[in-house]
Amino acid sequence: MPSFTTDKMIGTQTASESNNDVVSINVGGQIFQTTKQTLIMAGPDSLLSQLAESTCPFVDRDPEFFSLLLSFLRTGTLPSKVKDFDIYDLIEESRFYGVESLLIESITNPSQFDGFALQKSLVLPLNGRDSPSAIATTSSGSVHVAHGSKITSFDWSLRRKWTILTQFTAIDSLLAISPKLAAAGATDFSGLQILDLENGNVKEVLNWENVTKSSSTVQAIGASSEFLFTSFESGRRNSNSIMVYDINTLKPVTEIGHYEIYGADIDSAIPATKLSWVSNHRLVMAAGSHSGLSGVMGNIKFWDIRSGNVVFELKEKVNCFADVCVSDNLNSIFKVGVNSGEVFYADFRILGGGDSDDSGNSSDIWVCLGDGRKIVNGKKEGSGCKIESHGNQVFCSKGGDIELWSEVVMGSHRTSGNRLDERVFRKNTMGRVKDMVGLKITNLAFGGNRMFLTRKDQQAVEVWQGAVRGI
C-alpha cells in the first residue's frame, strides 16, 4: 500500500509549503514541528541539521528524549522536566543526534564559574582502600583521580567512571592533556608516562637523559595550550631539569633550567615541584622548596621558553612558600607561607619593574594579606596548605577548610596612579557550617564550573559547584 503513504507525504508537503522553514519530524511515531533555524543550531555535522534538509524525516528513537533536546535547541537550556530523566540517558541520546558537545558546553560552562556560589554538592566514591594522591581536571569539568596504582576517571557528567591500572606504585603528578589522555609521573618512578585513560595503555614514556645515566623521576608537570612541561630529577638527586615538550606531538622542544649540583650549593639542588604557565607574560613559573636544618627555603623562577633564561626569580629564605600559584586575571602570584600559614601576593607589575633584588631575599616583594602577625613560635602552620587560583579568585586550603580570597576593586585607587600595594583582598571561609572542619585537604583543583578536592584518608572526591540549571 505504498500509494497511500505517498498521498500523505504530498499532503504534509503542501501544508508546509506556506512556510518553507517549518520542518516536521516523525520521531518514533510522534510528530514534532520546528524550524530549520532551530535544527541548524545543532551544528552542520549533526544529524539534526541533516534532518532539516531531508523530506518527511523519520527518526527511529524515543520521542521523549527528542522533545527534551528540541527544547534545549530552542531555548539553549534544558527544560525542568529533565529532572524526571536520568542525565546519562540524555547524554547518550544527544550523542546519537550529534549535539553532545553543545550539551556539555551548556551544562559545564566554565564562564559560569562563580567562586561565591560554590557549595559542597557531590561526592564521588572510589573503590578500594587507596586514598587519592593526585587529581587532574579538564575544562569540561571531568576529573581524573590517581589513587594507589590506579587512575579513576569521571566524565563531565560525573555519572560515568572507569578505572585503569598503571605501572606506578603511587602517582604524585597527574595532568590531563585531553579527556582521554593524561600525563602521569611519580617521585619514585622513572619517566613521564602518557597514558591512554580509556584502555589503560601507556602511549609514550618520556625520559630525561641525565648525565649520570641514572633514572629520572618526575617532580612536577605543567602545561600550556602548546607545551607540556616536566620537572625531572635524576635518581641520584644531583641534577634536575625542566623539559618542554610539544603537547600534541610529545616531541621535546627545549630544555630549560638544567642544574648539576657540585659541592654544597643547596639552592640549585632544588628541583621544581610546581610548574605553571603564566599566559599573560608567556612565562613558565617553576617553584621548588627544600626543608633543611635552617628551615624551609626555596625559589620561584620565571622562565622564558624561547630564550631559555630566567626572567626573574624570587628567593624564598624567610617564610618560604608552602604552595604558590599564578593568577592571570589578577596579574599576580599568590603564596601561602609555610611558617605563618598566611596568604601573600606579589603583583607582576612590581616583579616586571625590576625591583626584585637578585641577591637578597624576596620578602619585600610579597604583600601579606592576613593581619601580618609575626611568626612567634616558628611552627610550620602553613605546611601542607594548597593555594590555587581560578577565575578572579584565589582558593587556599588550611587544614580542612578553604579560604576564598577575592579582590575588592576600590574605585578611587584604580585611577590614582601606581599605588600597587593598595590593592584590597578580603577572605571568606567557604561552605556552610556543616561542611567545615573536615579532614585535611590534600588536593585542590578546578575544572569547568566545579571545584574538586580530596581529603586525607578519604577514598572519595568532593565536588563543589554552584546551582546547575537543568540537572
Partner: protein, 470 residues
C-alpha cells in the same frame, strides 16, 4: 543510517498507544522473536499491528532495541522481573540480559552490588556460579537457584543434610557432593527432583565403600569427582556426562599421608586435555599438600609438585602453599604461601621442578600488613585473568597492567609480568567475616564468608556512584 525510507517504517499499536519504528529495529531482537515475526507478517496493509500488552513497558523495550541500552529510569518504574517477563513475551530476552549484565569485572574497581540471602538456613555451605551470571547456592541441604538477573528462581530440597560440593553439569542438572553422605548425586533444578546417584565401588576390593565426594568438575563430555573412603583411600572417578555412569578411575591412592590425601579442588584444562587435582591440608606442623596433573586418556600423572618438598625442589622451603587455583584461560597456576602470604605463579605450559615465580608486593599500603602465618585463612580464585585472594576477611586482587609487551626483558620478573596487588574491599567490608569461598561468573564475583548469611555479589560498574550532599 538512522534516517529510514518510508517503506521500512512500521506502525505498532501496543495497548492503544501508537508506536512507529523500523523493520530493522524490530528484527534486531533476533530472527525468532515475536517482534521480528510481526514485522515480516502480511498484516502490513491493514494499519498498525495491534499487540495487547502494556504500552509503558513496550516503550522501554523499544528503546532497548533502538539504542542497545536500557534507559536508566526503566528500573525505577518497573522491576527487573517485569521487564524480563515482558522481554520474554516479545522474544528479546537475550537483548535485555545483555543490556543489564554487568560490565567486565575489574577487581581494581569493584564493589558489593548485592547480597543474595536465601529465605532460610541462609549460610551458604558452597555455591557454583555460571558464565551467564546465574548462581546455585547450597545451604542447609537445599539448593537455591538464582537466574542471570540474580532473581530467585527456585529451591530444591535434597536428601543430603549438608552439601559441600556443587557443580553445574548440564543447564538444568547439578552434581552434588556431601562430606556426610556417600556418593555423587544429580538433581534436576527445573523439575526439582533427584535424577540419579553414583557411588564408588570396587568388586575386587570390599573396602571401597561409603566413599564421599570432595570436589567436582566437568569437561564437555565427562564429570570428574574426587571420592574418599572413611579409611582415607581415594581416587578421582570419571563419569560420562550423557549416561551418568562411571567410565574411568584415576589416581587411586591410599590417603595415609599428606601427599596422598583426596584432592579438594579439581580443575579441567581443555587446552591440554588434562585434569589438575589440588590438595592442601593444615596440620600441627603447618600446611602441606600437592598439585597433580593427570592425562585422563592415559590415566598417567603428567606433572606433580609436593609441599613442603625437599629443600632442593622449592626456593621457598618452609613456606608451603595455603591455597592454589588454576587460571584456565591464561594457563597459569597461582599459589599463596602460608607463611609469607606471597603470591606465586607458574606457567602451565612450562612446568618444571620449581616453576614458581614469586611476586613482589609494591603497594605501600599493603606492605605493612601484619601477616602472621598460623591459622589465617587464605582463599585464592582466578577469574578473568585476575587473581582474587581472600585473607581472613580482606579481599585483594592481583592484576596486570594492560600493556605487557612494552616492558623490556631485562626488568625484574614481577615487573615484566606486571602484577599489581590492590585491595578490592574497604576496611569495613573486611569486618563482615572470614572469606570462605570466592567464585567468578558472568563478570560477577561471588563471595561467601564463614558463618555469615548470604552471598556477596561484587561487580564493576561504569556508574560513578555519585552522591549528592548539598
Amino acid at each position: 543510517m538512522p534516517l529510514s525510507s518510508p517503506q521500512d517504517i512500521i506502525q505498532l499499536n501496543v495497548g492503544g498507544k501508537l508506536f512507529e519504528t523500523t523493520v530493522s529495529t524490530l528484527q534486531s531482537g533476533g530472527p525468532d522473536s515475536l517482534l521480528a515475526v510481526l514485522s515480516t507478517g502480511p498484516a502490513k496493509d491493514s494499519g498498525p499491528i495491534f499487540i495487547d500488552r502494556d504500552s509503558d513497558i513496550f516503550s522501554i523495550l523499544l528503546s532497548l532495541l533502538r539504542s542497545n541500552r536500557l534507559p536508566s529510569t526503566a528500573l525505577r518504574r518497573f522491576s527487573l522481573q517485569e521487564l524480563a517477563d515482558e522481554a520474554l513475551y516479545y522474544g528479546i530476552d537475550s537483548r535485555l540480559r545483555f543490556a543489564v549484565s554487568p560490565p567486565q569485572l575489574h577487581g581494581i574497581d569493584a564493589a558489593v552490588k548485592d547480597t543474595i540471602r536465601p529465605a532460610a538456613d541462609a549460610i551458604p555451605s558452597t555455591f557454583s556460579a555460571a558464565e551467564d551470571g546465574s548462581v546455585w547456592i547450597a545451604h542447609g541441604g537445599q539448593v537455591s537457584v538464582y537466574d542471570p538477573y540474580l532473581t530467585y528462581t527456585s529451591t530444591i530440597r535434597t536428601h543430603l543434610d549438608d552439601i559441600t560440593s556443587i557443580r553445574w553439569v548440564w543447564p538444568n542438572i547439578a552434581a552434588l557432593g556431601s562430606e556426610s553422605t556417600a556418593g555423587i548425586h544429580f538433581y534436576n533444578s527445573s523439575a526439582g527432583r533427584h535424577v540419579s546417584s553414583v557411588h564408588w565401588t570396587d568388586p575386587t576390593d570390599p573396602r571401597i565403600y561409603k566413599a564421599r565426594v570432595n570436589a567436582i568438575t566437568d569437561s564437555t563430555n565427562s564429570i570428574f569427582a574426587s571420592f574418599d573412603c572413611p579409611h582415607k583411600e581415594n581416587a578421582v572417578l570419571v563419569i560420562d556426562k550423557s549416561t551418568l555412569q562411571i567410565s574411568q578411575e584415576l589416581g587411586r591412592q591410599p590417603g595415609n599421608s599428606a601427599k596422598t590425601t583426596v584432592p579438594e579442588k579439581l580443575t579441567w584444562l581443555p587446552e591440554t586435555c588434562s585434569l589438575i587435582g589440588i590438595s592442601v591440608t593444615q596440620g600441627a606442623f603447618g600446611y602441606s599438600g600437592y598439585i597433580r596433573m593427570w592425562d585422563p586418556r592415559s590415566g598417567e600423572v603428567v606433572w606433580e609438585t609436593n609441599e613442603p618438598g625437599s629443600g632442593r625442589s622449592s626456593s621457598r622451603f618452609g613456606d608451603p602453599m595455603a591455597d592454589v587455583d588454576v587460571d584456565v584461560e591464561g594457563l597459569k597456576l597461582f599459589k599463596i604461601c602460608s607463611k609469607s602470604g606471597d603470591l606465586a605463579m607458574a606457567d602451565l605450559r612450562n612446568l618444571g621442578e620449581d616453576p614458581w615465580v614469586y611476586m613482589k608486593d609494591t603497594n605501600p599500603i599493603l606492605r605493612n600488613t601484619n601477616w602472621s602465618s598460623s591459622g589465617n585463612s587464605m582463599v585464592l580464585h582466578c577469574y578473568k585473568s585476575q587473581v582474587f585472594v581472600g585473607r581472613e576477611g580482606e579481599l585483594e586482587v592481583w592484576s596486570t597492567t594492560e600493556d605487557k609487551k612494552d616492558e623490556s626483558q631485562s626488568d625484574l620478573v614481577n615487573e615484566r609480568l606486571g602484577y599489581k596487588r590492590n585491595y578490592v574491599d574497604k576496611s569495613d567490608d573486611a569486618e563482615r567475616g572470614v572469606i570462605k569461598r570466592i567464585e567468578g561468573g558472568g563478570n560477577r564475583l561471588f563471595v561467601s564468608r564463614e558463618e555469615v548469611e548470604g552471598l556477596e555479589v561484587w561487580e564493576s560498574s561504569n556508574f560513578s556512584g555519585v552522591l549528592s550532599v548539598s
